[in-house]
Amino acid sequence: MPLPEPTASVPETGSKNLDRRSFLRSTAAFAGLTALATSLSPLRELGDYTSTEQFLQKYYKELTPQEMKQVLERITNEVEHQYGIRPHVRDLKPMDGVEFVYALNLTRCIGCRKCVHACVAENNQSRSPEIQYIRVLKMPHGSMDVEKGDHTYDDKEVPDKGFFYMPVQCQQCKNPPCVKVCPVNATWQEKDGITVIDYDWCIGCRYCEAACPYWARRFNFTKPEIPADRLNPEMAYLGNRPRKQGVMEKCHFCIQRTRVGKYPACLEVCPVGARKFGNILDPESEISYILRTKRIFIQLKEEMGTNPRFFYYFDK
């Protein structure tokens, strides 16, 4: 009969049977736990993934000055522990009456990529894998279509005839798509126009990276590596302090420099003076003068409605 056995005919479970069953059961449970432990064994190398303090750290905007001090102390100790150098980490606030704007002279830029390397050094970017905030495009004369740009040009000498060079970095948009999409408010626009990231709050979903029309954001796909002797010890919380694995980063107009009145590193290193930076709210500033007098300046992908604070212009 195909029917399930009636209750009555179920054989009584003898003690022998029970022993065998409980033996099988405990063997199975033991094998299962062993397999589970084995599959999780790589976690032993997890190391300093996160400390309790860091795990429980509050959102940047909710930290009291006292708590901020403790956080900065923790970061200082962590950096010292890792690199053997005691850094100077500050939480620099935006200055009143300041809105930063960048302008780049495409006539002058020769594509030497000095800005790229100065940026890496200044901002403690990972050397392996390489993370760079600035991408220089080698473009054929006559077109602003980035799809015609060469990202990996390797010429012995620059500039190459028939080409111009267009460095692209975070455009510090007035209407930033990356800020809008972040599910946890880990990135926001500061009063001085700089879009910053709280590296201790970012969950690493990379939605902002997908949203950015300028490909300006970089993700730490693994633990960043910086040689200890190359570490820049002058650090800001929202700026160039070393990042952790699994978080986003990007150009922040060298917050650790510009908020104390210095120029960004990319500007200082530029051998041809193609880069200009300043306070747009100050009518006397050089940047205000340039934007007032140049007949043509370009916001990259203006049609996106992002309204960048980064302008490209030409001499003639």
Binding site: P183, C202, A210
Partner: protein, 580 residues
């Protein structure tokens, strides 16, 4: 209150116990899934240690198969609603029994979705930043925060609906409509919303012209309503196969008791029935006396057949003592559709409607049965309480008819036609206008600057979809064999088209015009397989619990008996019991 809690805990414990009961094929299947799960877990542990560098993703292509699978599975979850709509809005009886399978599939799919987004996070330890109240949820600005809300909401809704309906069935209690119907309707709207919100994740990004198209939302729904019901068609056939117990031939060996005359019933028998079926107490003595005409009591031995599928007679039955199992033949195999215990009815549907018997009823142990002609049953049903309980119990069965599969076929059919049409619209727009915004589509369909990684995939997907559409439109697919082929092709085709074909090319070329290929790494693939195995494991466990409840095998009435033996026996897969 304490009793209610205790009952519920017992129910949960019994459900959990039964997940560990099955024959060697069940253990083999679950064991294999567990192994794949653990392989995936191991790969994920490596990813946690070394970071997402172990995947094929890069700053150029920053989302990969994790998000592709996530997108596909949100569609599967949303599609469960395509079974709910015909049932609750158009009162379709055929699909009624099957809604629960769709909803359980939705729960398993959402679990997979949540797993896929979690493994995609760079800092899963900071997930709590997303929780409103203690974290910082960027709501309503970020579409991702919407997605977190709607997905978890959908999970809760479906867990509530399935859990409540199954618990009521377990308790043999009529579900309170107010406690689940409103949620059913919310879930219908919610299902559309989860997939729309997921589409908006992409549509909202102005910097990615391939995604920034209003057609993405409708395409998502059309492809979901194709792949989801297609998956349910296949899943239901698997359920039907593994819950079938024995071939038709073997069933024929039982002694036929359908014509046994028995003894005339008396008021004492009605009294005995009212002890098991409290609603009977409402029937007046006068009505009971009227109903005695033609009623008889028969005693049967285990294995006796009380009625046969396909025959006609005007008798309905109530069990006074013992247990009767109702089995239906579908595709040459019999499956338990209902278990009748004291107070329960069987054979009432064909008696009332005058139709052929839909199933065969066999006594599972020595039983005493009250046999009523349709006239007597109608007399009893003149009392409102009796009428309600008899009607409510009519739907307490597990049936997976071919007809219900073909209702789903018509959904897949129409959705596939719409899906292919929307694809054509999209291809036309991208290629005819010839703007530079078509670069991603060019990369996808034709290859760009010597990079062709997705070209063979998308053309296979389109091929699969077109073949599936042709099969679905032709009468050919009225045969289950061809319908299954069409379903498999649609699922694979849509998985490629919607996952790899939508997520990856959105990143290529990058907004700065770089063309970088993406290929999932081995570690990434293992994590994906692990999550799929987890989903299948969950769905199997859900079915393992739900099927015996729907069949009346796992019920409050047999509380305290050892799981998987005697009257709780639900061999899984059931075909194993056919061996002599």
């Amino acid at each position: 209150m304490i009793t209610a809690t205790r009952n519920y805990l017992v129910f949960l414990r019994r459900c959990a116990n039964i997940a560990f009961v099955g024959d060697w094929r069940y253990y083999l299947w679950m064991g294999a899934l567990t192994v794949v799960c653990l392989l995936g877990l191991n790969a994920y542990a490596k990813q946690l240690v070394h970071g997402l560098v172990v995947t094929g993703m890069s700053d150029e292509v920053s989302w990969g198969v994790y998000i592709a699978n996530f997108t596909f599975l949100v569609g599967v979850a949303a599609a469960a609603v395509m079974m709910v709509i015909p049932v609750y809005i158009y009162d379709n009886e055929e699909l009624h029994d099957l809604v629960i399978f769709g909803e359980l599939l939705a729960v398993a799919a959402i679990i997979m979705c949540l797993a896929f987004v979690t493994v995609d996070l760079g800092r899963p330890d900071r997930f709590w930043h997303l929780i409103p109240g203690i974290g910082q949820m960027n709501f309503p600005r970020s579409m991702l925060s919407w997605d977190v809300l709607v997905l978890n909401g959908y999970l809760l809704l479906n867990v509530h609906i399935c859990g409540y309906l199954l618990y009521c069935r377990y308790q043999k209690r009529k579900p309170a409509r107010w406690f689940y119907i409103p949620f059913v309707f919310i879930a219908i709207v919610w299902a559309i919303s989860i997939h729309t919100v997921t589409a908006f994740l992409y549509v909202g990004l102005g910097g990615r012209p391939f995604w920034n198209a209003s057609i993405v939302g409708p395409r998502f729904l059309a492809s979901a309503f194709t792949a989801g019901p297609a998956l349910i068609i296949l899943a239901l056939q698997v359920v039907r196969r593994v819950t079938a117990g024995g071939s038709a031939k073997e069933l024929a060996t039982g002694t036929d008791a359908s014509n046994r005359s028995g003894t005339s019933a008396s008021l004492a028998d009605f009294y005995q029935l009212s002890r098991e079926l409290p609603e009977m107490a409402w029937v007046s003595i006068a009505d009971r006396e009227r109903a005695l005409a033609g009623a008889s009591v028969i005693d049967v031995a285990a294995g006796d057949i009380l009625l046969r599928q396909g025959t006609t007679s005007h008798f309905a039955f109530f069990v006074l003592q013992g247990r009767v199992v109702v089995k239906k033949e579908e595709g040459g195999l019999f499956r338990i559709t209902r278990t009748a215990r004291p107070g329960d009815q069987f054979g009432e549907v064909s008696a009332l409607h005058g139709t052929a018997r839909e199933a065969t009823a066999i006594a599972e142990e020595p039983s005493r049965i009250l046999r009523l002609p349709d006239t007597s049953l109608k007399v009893l049903m003149e009392t409102r309480e009796m009428e309600q309980i008899v009607h409510a119990r009519m739907t307490e069965r597990l049936m997976i008819t071919d007809r219900s599969l073909f209702i789903l076929r018509s959904i897949v059919q129409v959705s596939m036609i719409i899906n292919v049409f929307l694809l054509v619209c999209e291809v036309f727009k991208e290629f005819y206008s010839g703007t530079t915004h078509g670069a991603s589509a060019k990369y996808l369909f034709l290859g760009l600057e010597g990079h062709h990684a997705l070209v063979p995939w998308i053309w296979s997907a389109i091929g699969f979809n077109l073949i599936a559409m042709v099969i679905l439109v032709l009468p050919l697919s009225k045969s289950l064999k061809y319908l299954n082929v069409a379903c498999v092709l649609s699922i694979v085709g849509i998985w490629i088209e919607k996952g790899m074909g939508l997520v990856i090319p959105g990143f290529i070329p990058t907004p700065l015009g770089a063309v970088v290929d993406y290929l999932p790494s081995l570690n990434e693939t293992l994590v994906c397989l692990g999550i799929w195995a987890l989903g299948l494991l969950c769905y199997t466990i859900f079915l393992r619990m739900a099927v015996p409840i729907l069949q009346g095998r796992l019920t409050k009435a047999n509380e305290g008996r050892p799981e998987g033996r005697g009257d709780t026996a639900v061999p899984f897969p059931a075909a194993a019991t056919t061996k002599p």
